[in-house]
Symmetry: C2
């Protein structure tokens, strides 16, 4: 029996001539293929592992062009532009065939000390340890890889919980607990159930089309966070003819804003 | 004297074997090179002009890898994935040399009628015609291509207007007026002055690194808007060691949410 965390197994990549090879484990299975957040973590990890990479991740944009199979994937990484303080990366993920299933762009940067301020304050909430994690049965497998404790906007599939407000507020961390790094922060930025489910409290066909996460965290912020729960909030702004957006924030347990995230989701209803 | 709107001149592209060729006019000049919004409009227009394009723009992500010169550019467009209802596009913009100055991804989609709801309501504001446009002298040239009428968060460079809140709220349209289309909506989604200037009321070196805009508007929404003012709001969430984010919304004059937009900006201070 392996003692390696499933997150580390799933994001471990082997560098070969044609790119970075890896395979996501069954623990991160979603309705169709693996959870989008773990796919994003693999793509980000390919940049982090690249020998020419300098600095830390600033942003990642993921375009989900086709569902992945539960088999090995290959990530082709191109350093498009190498500036003094930033690097621009373009990525494509392949399984069978030569048409990419994912495209992505990543920007890394060497940060320098400047005037700084966190303008958006974290919501005041009860402590994570005063709340219970949601039961994971009935949800896709990947949900079991997270400990989620909701204060608002949980998906219960009960009519009584239907709402005109798609906002969710929750504490979330890897399960089992694991120290936060950029790859796991990327994965957690996709942890929000589709806002459509919060509104209607019913399942429907949905799929992320494109996701962008901005990393506001330094390596010191990640170290300070360790394996504590993150505070996570998300909401949708417009649901319209097959697509809706959701925008979210991830704060450290000390109230520091670590990442902001946005996605556009396909739906049928 | 040309009677074509400078926006149409700047986004007009000529299809050649190696991509779409165009040149942005001097009216859209910024501190260094052209205004980022007009560059984004050109990239989006290249997809709109592509003979294989189906449906309307859903999202665009722009990565500003290097400043453009005020000369001709070439946009290479690749249809990466052609799904039943969505298309995934990858773009690169070149001037001299074979290293791209911009990369971009665009998603287009054929929307189908579904349950729809605009959850985020437009702020209540005075009518655009009850306010005066800001004077454009002292600003980069491109600002003169817009009629902007501020209710909150204008940049005056006066100490008295320094604020802990980077929010801006304004009415904005092309100047001279021009019927809204997806390309001009893209351009306007970058019209927000850097949030740093709102906070400090002083100029500083800044530059957009990456921008993502989600289009929530149908062609009917655009037609309903015509050349009226859009209501625009933006704010920053964290300013940290050389980079800050800004997130914004663009509503039609009838209160419909037409686009949401996010960017990450480099700064020195």
């Amino acid at each position: 029996m392996s003692t390696t965390h499933p997150f580390d197994q799933s994001t471990q990549l082997t560098a070969k001539d044609d790119g970075f090879h890896g395979q996501i484990t069954a623990e991160y299975g979603n309705m169709v293929g693996p959870y989008g957040g773990i796919i994003g973590a693999c793509l980000l990890q390919a940049v982090i592992d690249h020998p020419e990479r300098r600095g830390v991740p600033l942003s990642i944009t993921l375009n989900y062009a086709a569902p992945l199979a539960a088999t090995e994937h290959r990530i082709a990484v191109q350093l498009v532009r190498n500036n003094r303080s930033t690097q621009h990366w373009s990525l494509q993920l392949f399984q069978e065939g030569d048409t990419p299933l994912m495209t992505a762009t990543v920007i890394t940067a060497q940060r320098r000390e400047t005037w700084s301020d966190t303008e958006l304050k974290a919501p005041q909430t009860p402590a994570a340890n005063s709340l219970k994690p949601i039961p994971t049965q009935g949800f896709p497998t990947w949900v079991g890889q997270y400990d989620m404790r909701f204060m608002q906007g949980v998906v219960t599939l009960q009519d009584a919980d239907k709402s005109d407000d798609s906002t969710s507020l929750l504490w979330v961390r890897d399960e089992p607990a694991r120290p936060l790094d950029y790859a796991s922060l990327m994965a957690i930025s996709d942890c929000f159930f589709p806002r459509l489910f919060v509104r209607h409290q019913q399942m429907a066909a949905t799929g992320t089309i494109t996701l962008t996460t901005y990393f506001h965290a330094s390596e010191d912020d990640l170290a300070a966070q360790g394996s504590d729960h993150l505070l996570a909030q998300a909401r949708g702004k417009r649901f319209f003819n097959g697509y809706f957006d959701q925008a979210g924030e991830l704060w450290g347990s000390n109230g520091q804003l670590l990442a902001t995230t946005h996605q556009l989701v396909y739906f049928k209803m």
